[in-house]
């Protein structure tokens, strides 16, 4: 099963995303980070196959963390999960920095799994 690192400062989002991932039978949650800085640390420890990451977080935001992760590992598969997905500039910025996709909140489980399966 592919390992997914969940990165979100919201307990409720982390729980919902973890539920979607665990219920798929194809993916498992490798860990939960509450901000971008934790995400980078955990990525290096856990080496997940995929990272699902929020944008708006304290300490280090998701875009900065994305930039850092891709510079550390150019093959990192990072998907942004954000309420700002519909903001064109934010969406394209994430893709330009190497995000493999962007999921807009409120998220739909089919949408999340479709994107993860495609990676």
């Amino acid at each position: 099963m592919k390992k997914v690192l969940v990165v979100d400062d919201s307990l409720s989002v982390a729980r919902e995303l973890s539920r979607i991932i665990a219920s798929s039978g194809e993916f498992e949650v490798a860990g939960h980070a509450k901000n971008g800085a934790e995400a980078v640390q955990m990525y290096l420890q856990v080496r997940p196959d995929i990272v699902c990451m929020d944008v708006n977080m304290p300490v280090m935001d998701g875009i900065t963390a994305l930039r850092t992760l891709v510079s550390l590992d150019k093959n990192a598969k990072v998907v942004m999960v954000t309420s700002l997905g519909g903001v064109g500039d934010k969406y394209t910025e994430a893709l330009k920095l190497g995000a493999r996709g962007v999921i807009s909140k409120p998220m739909q489980s089919e949408e999340v799994l479709k994107l993860l399966r495609g990676l």
Binding site: D9, S10, L11, S12, V13, R15, E16, R19, N56, M57, P58, T82, S83, L84, G85, G86, V87, G88, D89, Y91, T92, L95, K96, R100, G101, V102, S104, K105, P106, Q108, E111
Partner: protein, 287 residues
Amino acid sequence: MAVKFFGQFMVEKGIVSREALLQAVGLQESTNLRFGETARSMGFITDADIARVNAAQREVDLPFGEMSEKLGIITPDQLKEVLTKQRNSHLYIGEALIKVGAIRAEDLPGHLDAFKADQAPYVIDTVAIPPGVPDPALAELIADLTCKMLSRIAGLTIRTGQCAVVRRLDDNDTVVEMGMSGSIQARYLLSVSGNVRNAIARAVLKTDDVSGESEAMLNDAVMEFVNIICGNMAAKAAQMGKTIEIALPRLIEAKGGIPAPAGGSGLLFPVSIADGRIEIGLFMEKA
């Protein structure tokens, strides 16, 4: 179901690839001149003026055109002329996708219709805003989107009341605020009673029963709900040509009520619900 922009919709539907979208965006960026570049090409400003405006923008968050006018570099008429020229020469993402070969010209109208249908739930309904309020269109958008999310995501049956200018928001069981900057300097507040909080938590946690959940989890769900509202609001505002940055949602202590900012405006959008109390507040800083 979220507010999206056209390029995102096309990628999600599998009609264009990420790479094709980025190619089209690249073409847009090289074609669509920014306000400063357009104004310079029209002879209204110099490089030194551009530097002056950029320096001022580091202190005060205003779009380039508005800042130029505020600094007296361009006149209101010149501002309008530049905006008109930008509008008339703008390469839209659909046309850019055609130019990079990602879609055919004859297919664009059909894709646009599908996008319009997808986004129909987010067309803004009219909300009456009292006169004299700065940026009433944004205030209308914020109130309307909140009500749509309350009914469609939280599943609540609500009726909106008359917007009013207030000096304070009354206290309630849970009040979450989110700061906004950019085209609007304001704080968004969602004030809910306990049972409404639980309804929101049921929707966010996708469960029928939240009786066993901690206070922290229930409040977190409302904070995430506010995050969703404000993020989608920023997306809708971007379609209106406005840039809004959002801060992190914050649970605030509301005992004794929450005063509106001194010199600013406090707008209250009351929402009627059979059982409980909901208020949407928009506290705008002094312009």
